[in-house]
Each structure stands twice: as structure tokens, then as C-alpha cells.
């Protein structure tokens, strides 16, 4: 336990300082140890905390961030929690881990705290409902379910996390080639539609056009691209199709949801089925469409290793015209030392499926991480941790975070007139956040994900068809979920 209590000063002084006649508050030295992945959004949090945080309770509070390398973050946290190390007071977590660690008794239920504290209630009300649904609720409630209840906090719903870094994927594209007159004319000529150049063009881009872009910009070494001879093969498009972690599920879910299909929906337990839903004809068609665009993507797409970082690298090194990737990976694209296209990149909303009325459905799978409190802390520490939450989700802090490469989940901050101008992808991010849903949160999340990734990978590497893959996934999920009493 990192808590060290030191009586600071004389009680009378502290009473005077608070200027209130309520029960005297002891000023203490409080250390909050927080497990955090080692990357800029958390580094910012720590730096900004040291600079700007003052405890409203008069404590001397230290935020001791245990920066853990991203690739090992899950292992470190999981080992710490399951072994009962009780080292952390706060933890940055992927939203999908909620189930396992709530059921294991490690993450703290904040529902009562939020209800009892108007400031926290106000924050929850200001948070985008898609984020509240994904990052905070367990058992999982969809945005629609929350909105149906209307009240915030919703009665009967348990809340756990707050956004540390809310992420969505958007389109990264090369303005120099998509807005090149010759290319635009050639595209118009070939497909009878415009090559998306402006943000508005991307708002009107569906998967069909995405495929056309892929085909159009598939150039061999020596061909001309935007009037310049290529020194290497060039590809039009790329999105994630990787075996690791969730590096294909995040994109396939988008295809399936947009076309009216569904994954096993835990918010409709226990009646929701996997068999017949996961492998419905709509879902198979959607997954097939996802697979069909791989042919236009760089050769690594044949290996099942085309994850979110590989496409980012391919884009930064000028090998591909447009990618769909997380906003969190946008900053390096603008960095001249890492990116060859730092001055040629622009961002738009991710493509979607065109519906019968002509509008485009961009439903996507949310990324990013909430942060949570753990269950073994003394009240004093919990209260102080909630003060840190309030500090973090204060609009001043949030705007500062956004200008330093972060993202905000507060609607009031997103509505700030300066917001869209702070980073080039903010407009797309705000537009996309409205479309976000999340994948499962139950403790068996990893088992579901791993098996699905494996089957998807077989389809991506051409070993089985989309139907075979989804059939295998459905069968596995049905059995596992029935065994776990999630399905009646």
C-alpha cells in the first residue's frame, strides 16, 4: 500500500484553511499509483498533473504513473490484478477488459459515488453517450438502451470508467494525389464519379468508392502517380487485417453493423444468440465485402499481419494512398522525422455503407481507453482519485490535452469553436464518435476475440471462405456462451 499518512500542520490550521465549520479534514500525503501504457496521452496526463493539479481537499497528492510498455501492458496489469498484488489505485484499461476485471473483483463500481456527487454526475452527463456506453457500463448497456432510460446516471446501470483517451478510426489520405487534377480527371473518367479530395468528398465516400480508389491507385514501380514516376509499387487503400489482438475485428465489425448484421449482442442477454446471428447471410456478405478489398492492399495483406501499425507505416512511407486507422496513431504522420507524407496528409471520416435512402452508415467499433479505480483503497484515497477524475475531465484540462494530441470525450469540449482547429483530424473524430459501438465486455472477451481473430485470419490468408469463417465463429461462440450461461 502506497498510502502514507502524515499529519501536516495543526488541525486548527487546516480547519482555517478550508474555512468551513464542517468536520475537520486532515491534509495528507496521498500517492495514487496508476498503471498506464507508455505513450503520449498518458505521458501528457502525468506531466500536466504535476503542473496543474491542486487537491481540493488540501492533500499533497502524487500521481505515480507506472508507465508500462504498450505491448506488455495487458500482461503486467493482468498479473498484478489476478495475483492480488494490489499495487495500483487507478488503471488505464481497454474497455473490453471491464468484464474480466470487474467480475474478478478488481475494478471499483463508481455508480453510487457518481450519483452522490453532482460534479461527477455533470461530467457523466457531458460525456458522449457512446463513450459512456463503451467505457463505463458493465454489464454492458448500449447507447440506445441508455438513451431510452434517459436519466443520467441511469438507474440499474453500473458505471466504472471514464475516458482517458477516446479513440475512433478515421481516413488518413494523401491530399497531393487525391486532389491532383490529372488523377481526379482520370478517376472521373473511369468510374463516372469524383475522386474524394475534400473533407466533404469523404463524407460522401462509401465502400464501393473505397474499392474503386484501391483499384485506381494500384500502380507498379515505374508508373506515374500524380505525374511523378514511382520508385516502388503503390497501393490505393489499406485497413487493418491483422491476426494480432483485435486487428481485424475492429474493422469487420464496422462492415457487419453497417449492413444490418450483428455480433452476439451481450446487452440483450440472455436471449441474444450467436448461431444464426454471427453467421447470418448479411454478416457473411459484409465480411465478404471486407475481404474483397484486400486485393487492392499492399502485399502484407496476404499474411494476416497487416495491423494498425503496419498500415500506418505504409502510409507514412508513401506506399499507400489512403488508410483507415485510429486517431491515436495520427500524430506521427505529421512528424517530418518519421513520415514522408507529413505535409501531404489530410483526414476524413471513414467510409461506410450506403443505405437505400442514399445516406451513409458509418457505424464503427470504438477504440481508446477508459481509466478506472481499483477496489482495495481507503475512502480518503478513493475520494482523492475521484478528484483526479474531475480534474482530468475538466474542460480546461481537456482542451489542453487535445492541443497536445489527445482527444476529449466531453460534448461541451467538442462543441468548443476552437476544437476542430486544434488537430487536423478533430472534425472527422467528432463526426465518427457519434457512430461508435463496442465489442463484447464479458470476461470471456479474450476467448471470443482470439478464436474470431484466428478464423478471420484464415479467411484473410485465403485458407477458408467468409462463410466458413463466420460459421466456425458462430459455432464456437454459441457453445462457449451457452456453457457460460450467457445464452439460455
Amino acid at each position: 500500500m502506497k498510502l502514507r499518512k502524515v499529519i501536516k500542520g495543526i488541525i486548527a490550521v487546516s480547519v482555517l484553511a478550508t474555512g468551513m465549520s464542517v468536520a475537520p479534514v486532515l491534509a495528507a500525503d496521498i500517492t495514487i499509483t496508476m498503471a498506464a501504457p507508455d505513450w503520449p496521452p498518458t505521458r501528457f496526463m502525468k506531466e500536466h498533473f504535476d503542473k496543474s493539479y491542486t487537491s481540493p481537499a488540501g492533500h499533497t497528492t502524487t500521481l505515480d504513473m507506472d508507465f508500462i510498455p504498450w505491448p506488455s501492458f495487458y500482461e503486467r496489469v493482468a498479473a498484478s490484478l489476478t495475483s492480488g498484488e494490489q499495487k495500483y489505485q487507478m488503471i488505464v484499461t481497454d474497455s473490453q477488459w471491464l468484464g474480466a476485471f470487474v467480475e474478478g473483483g478488481y475494478y471499483m463500481n463508481l455508480t453510487d459515488k457518481i450519483a452522490a456527487d453532482p460534479e461527477l454526475t455533470a461530467i457523466l452527463q457531458d460525456l458522449h453517450p457512446a463513450l459512456v456506453s463503451a467505457y463505463s457500463t458493465y454489464p454492458h448497456k448500449t447507447r440506445a438502451q441508455l438513451e431510452e432510460i434517459g436519466e443520467v446516471p441511469a438507474p440499474g446501470v453500473a458505471y466504472y470508467g471514464f475516458p482517458q483517451f477516446p479513440d475512433t478510426y478515421v481516413t488518413f489520405y494523401r491530399q497531393d494525389i487525391f486532389c491532383h487534377e490529372g488523377e481526379m480527371a482520370a478517376f472521373q473518367n473511369k468510374y463516372g464519379t469524383n475522386l474524394p479530395c475534400s473533407y466533404e468528398d469523404w463524407q460522401d465516400t462509401d465502400w464501393t468508392k473505397w474499392g474503386q480508389v484501391g483499384e485506381f491507385f494500384r500502380r507498379a514501380k515505374g508508373d506515374l502517380l500524380a505525374g511523378v514516376a514511382l520508385d516502388d509499387d503503390f497501393y490505393g487503400i489499406a485497413y487493418q487485417a491483422g491476426k494480432g489482438y483485435d486487428f481485424s475485428t475492429m474493422q469487420t465489425n464496422a462492415f457487419i453493423w453497417q449492413q444490418g448484421g450483428d455480433i452476439w449482442d451481450e446487452s440483450k442477454m440472455p436471449t441474444a444468440q450467436a448461431e444464426g446471428v454471427v453467421n447470418s447471410d448479411v454478416a457473411v456478405k459484409a465480411f465478404d465485402e471486407y475481404l474483397s478489398y484486400l486485393q487492392y492492399m499492399p502485399p502484407v495483406s496476404q499474411t494476416g499481419q497487416m495491423d494498425i501499425f503496419v498500415i500506418q507505416d505504409l502510409f507514412m512511407q508513401g506506399k499507400v494512398g489512403a488508410i483507415i486507422d485510429w486517431v491515436g496513431l495520427g500524430e506521427p504522420v505529421l512528424d517530418p522525422s518519421a513520415s514522408k507524407v507529413h505535409d501531404k496528409s489530410a483526414f476524413g471520416p471513414a467510409p461506410g455503407s450506403r443505405k437505400n435512402d442514399g445516406s451513409i452508415d458509418r457505424t464503427g467499433n470504438i477504440g481508446g481507453q477508459p481509466f478506472v479505480l481499483t477496489t482495495w483503497n481507503e475512502d480518503e484515497v478513493v475520494d482523492e482519485a475521484l478528484n483526479v477524475v474531475k480534474w482530468w475531465l475538466n474542460s480546461e484540462t481537456q482542451l489542453e490535452a487535445v492541443s497536445n494530441g489527445g482527444q476529449s470525450g466531453l460534448m461541451s469540449v467538442m462543441a468548443d469553436p476552437s476544437y476542430n482547429g486544434l488537430r487536423p483530424w478533430n472534425r472527422a473524430h467528432v463526426e465518427m464518435i457519434d457512430w461508435q459501438k463496442d465489442v463484447w465486455h464479458i470476461p470471456e472477451f479474450f476467448e471470443l476475440l482470439t478464436q474470431q481473430q484466428e478464423e478471420f485470419d484464415k479467411a484473410i490468408t485465403g485458407q477458408i471462405s467468409a462463410k466458413e469463417a463466420l460459421d466456425a465463429v458462430a459455432e464456437f461462440q454459441q457453445e462457449l456462451l451457452e456453457e457460460g450461461d450467457y445464452i439460455e
Binding site: E47, T82, E85, P332, S337
Partner: protein, 289 residues
């Protein structure tokens, strides 16, 4: 007329040339990693891959300093401490395993117990278990005993992991020695201590060096236990290295290569220094001198 000096087991510069070519090909991936340490990200991912480029030391700077998010000023990364930790932890644990292992190997070789081979085998099996399974109990044990995050905890753990190999390897060297020489020394009135330190140890120095080098190599890069059982102050380089594997970008090849290169230097040096011992004839050296 001058004849070429020819002897069994010796070869000349022509042979050196051949082996150098083979050695170089084998070394090429390492060379590539070292070259990458001097490349910008763009050069590291250039197509076609670049053998010649303008070298930069930025990656090495980044090993020890990172830019602040808010102010852009540079902050230390504690990597110096991690280097010290790695050297201290690996060196101590391998040394301990060597001492403890030598004693045990001597006993197994010279005073076999009944069921000697069985004991030896059981010792070996402790090395066969996939580490992932014992993590939870070890983690728990470390927490209860207060060893978590301390130098002693990780050192003892690494020592335990090095002992089986040390015993087996050192025993095979003791077995090669002629015990008659030791008996002769005993009859001349040498104490057991003198027999052990004066006769046995000097003769298996090559074996001890080999064991030390092997142990060091196996310990140097250990990742999983270091990740889970070291704290912020006792963290080792392989754990810190993982920060280059993904986050805002994918693998930071240049930075990873720079850490790998720096991290290679100490162990490369130790191996190089012990190489003579390592390669000295074991039996031959004892009989002829």
C-alpha cells in the same frame, strides 16, 4: 627452401578468408540491426533497403532522453539505471548460480548419492516448465515475502533458473577430469578444500567460463519475469526495450536497434574476454601442462 609450417588443427589466412565470409553472412542480421540504430525512421523503412545512408545519433539520444509532451524539453528516461540493473542482476545471479552449481556438480560427480541420476533429472525438469504457469504462484509468493520489486527477488529467481544448466554443464566437465589426480593429492595430505580449489577448479576454468557465458546469455534477455517482478527502480533493459514496440507508432526500429546495440556491448565484451578460457583445450590443457 622454406616450407610452410603445417600442423594438424591449424590453418592459415586462406581459411580465415573463407570463415570470415561465412561469419559475415551469419552476422548480417545483427549488422543490419546495428546499422538501423543509426537510421532515421524513413531510412529504416526505405525501399529498397538502404545499406548506405547518412547516419544519425538521434536514436541513441532517444535512448536516454525523451521530449516532454507539454514543453518539448528533454527528460531523462532512466535508461542508465535500467542498464545498471540489467548488468547487476544478470551478473550477480549467474555468478551465484555458478558458485552454487559448481558445489553441487562436484558433489554429483565425486560423491554420487544413491539415485544420483534421478536427482539430476529432477533438477533438470524444473527447467522444462513453461514459465507462464508458475508466474501466478511466484507472483503471489513474491508479494507475501516482500521480494516483489526488489533486487534480491529477481536475482534469486534468475539464480534458480540458471542452476540446473550450471549443474549439468559443470558436472560434465568434472566428469572429464581424472579423479586419480585428486586422490593422489589427498594422499599427499591436501585438505578437501585444497583438492577442490587447488586441483579441480583450475582445471575446469574453461567449463566455468562456458557456463558463465551461457548463463549470462540466457539471463541477459529474460523478459517475462522481469516485466512482472521488477519495480520501477529494478526494471531491466529488456522490459524498458518493449516501449519501442508500439504505442503511437508501430515498432520504433531505430530506437529499438539503438537499445539492442547498446545492450549488446556488455555481454559481447564479457564473451570476448572469456573466449580464450572458453576455447582452451579442456583435457589437453590439463595433461600437457
Amino acid at each position: 627452401m622454406v616450407r610452410k609450417h603445417r600442423e594438424i588443427g591449424k590453418a592459415g589466412w586462406g581459411y580465415t578468408a573463407t570463415t570470415s565470409i561465412i561469419g559475415f553472412i551469419y552476422f548480417f542480421p545483427v549488422l543490419w540491426i546495428i546499422l538501423t540504430a543509426f537510421k532515421t525512421r524513413t531510412d529504416a523503412l526505405a525501399t529498397p533497403p538502404k545499406l548506405f545512408f547518412t547516419p544519425t545519433l538521434d536514436n541513441f539520444t532517444s535512448v536516454f532522453y525523451r521530449a516532454s509532451i507539454t514543453t518539448g524539453s528533454s527528460q531523462a528516461t532512466d535508461m542508465g539505471l535500467y542498464f545498471f540493473n540489467s548488468i547487476f542482476i544478470a551478473g550477480t545471479s549467474v555468478g551465484l548460480a555458478l558458485i552454487v552449481g559448481t558445489l553441487a556438480a562436484y558433489a554429483f560427480s565425486r560423491f554420487p548419492l544413491r539415485g544420483n541420476d534421478t536427482y539430476l533429472f529432477i533438477i533438470l525438469t524444473t527447467r522444462m516448465m513453461p514459465p507462464i504457469v508458475v508466474i501466478i504462484p511466484i507472483f503471489l509468493m513474491f508479494r507475501l515475502s516482500g521480494l516483489a520489486g526488489t533486487y534480491w527477488g529477481i536475482i534469486l529467481l534468475y539464480t534458480a533458473f540458471n542452476i540446473p544448466f550450471s549443474i549439468w554443464l559443470i558436472k560434465s566437465f568434472f566428469d572429464e577430469l581424472n579423479p586419480e589426480i585428486e586422490d593422489a593429492a589427498r594422499m599427499d595430505g591436501s585438505t578437501e578444500g585444497r583438492v577442490f580449489f587447488g586441483f579441480c577448479i583450475p582445471q575446469i576454468l574453461a567449463g566455468l567460463s562456458a557456463t558463465f557465458v551461457f548463463g549470462l546469455i540466457l539471463t541477459w534477455n529474460e523478459f517475462l519475469f522481469a516485466l512482472l517482478l521488477t519495480g520501477v527502480e529494478t526494471r531491466t533493459v529488456p522490459v524498458a526495450m518493449a516501449r519501442t514496440l508500439g504505442g503511437e507508432v508501430g515498432v520504433d526500429y531505430g530506437l529499438l536497434a539503438a537499445i539492442v546495440t547498446l545492450f549488446l556491448i556488455p555481454i559481447f565484451f564479457v564473451t570476448f574476454l572469456l573466449q580464450n578460457q572458453l576455447l582452451r583445450g579442456v583435457t589437453f590443457g590439463t595433461v600437457k601442462k
